[in-house]
Symmetry: C2
Subunit: 160 residues, 2 copies
């Protein structure tokens, strides 16, 4: 069972409700959740882990939804622009958003052993980064906040 904040949960429900929310959000904002885009989101949602663009592409290819890299990158562009997914810069990988809907400044806890990712909610203007920005007269448009380390499970059992 995948982790959510490193906690077990009803993952089938987790996928179902997020897709439903994405459908509703797109209807409301006149965005098109096309078959490729919807399937890409579903694939990312399948695990609370970050997937590489080419990993995503491989699954899309199995489904006959495209084989060339732009297929995956376009879907990821859409999903990240809409706030349905995030890029984990430290891994060059992508993950479904765990706090659906609104614009937000996510922060990630990334387990370097099992590759699980937990998403925490933050705001760009809080904390030390916000302080530093205000002091420097710097205007933040996007933040990348990632912590690499070991999740509770992997601290106890340090196997791969």
């Amino acid at each position: 069972m995948p982790a959510f904040g490193f906690q077990p949960h009803d993952h089938a429900d987790c996928i179902r409700t997020t897709l439903a929310q994405a459908d509703a959000y797109c209807a409301q904002h006149k965005l098109k959740l096309t078959p490729i885009r919807r399937r890409a989101l579903e694939i990312l949602l399948a695990e609370h882990r970050a997937l590489g663009a080419y990993d995503l592409l491989a699954v899309l290819a199995e489904d006959g939804l495209g084989t060339a890299p732009p297929v995956a990158y376009r879907a990821l562009d859409f999903l990240t622009s809409a706030g349905f997914a995030h890029k984990i810069e430290g891994l060059n990988a992508y993950i479904a958003c765990a706090h659906f809907g609104a614009d937000h400044s996510p922060a990630f806890l990334i387990c370097t052993s099992c590759k699980s990712v937990a998403e925490a909610e933050t705001t760009a203007t809080q904390g030390r980064l916000g302080e530093a920005a205000r002091a420097a007269g710097f205007t933040i448009s996007r933040t990348v906040v990632e912590a690499l380390g070991l999740c509770p499970q992997c601290q106890e059992a340090p196997c791969a």
Copy 2:
């Protein structure tokens, strides 16, 4: 004149003193600041901007210090391991450390217009990320904290 925390400063002195500190640190810790490594640091120090590995390699090549990618990546590995440089994950680029010497958890303000980078000092266990980690039982080994936006100069004059 390059920016330092987006402030003008004596940059020649900034380079000189940092190289001297690096020499001293290496002597003290039995690390070898070989010609390639020293020149790589000098190149990164030349600007308070992030350079791609291949940008660095191009300059090293001009100096006859190597032409193949591993030359640049090895130098960068050494410099980042020693704490003399950091990787900016959001840009896949590298920058000389502005707070020399100690282990630290840097945070960066990155101007998307002029590509200047300012480095702020933080600690991994403070702030909201540290809170989230403690709450989840997660052990942090490394943090990536980057803010993309506009520096004071580029807010006023939004040219490239």
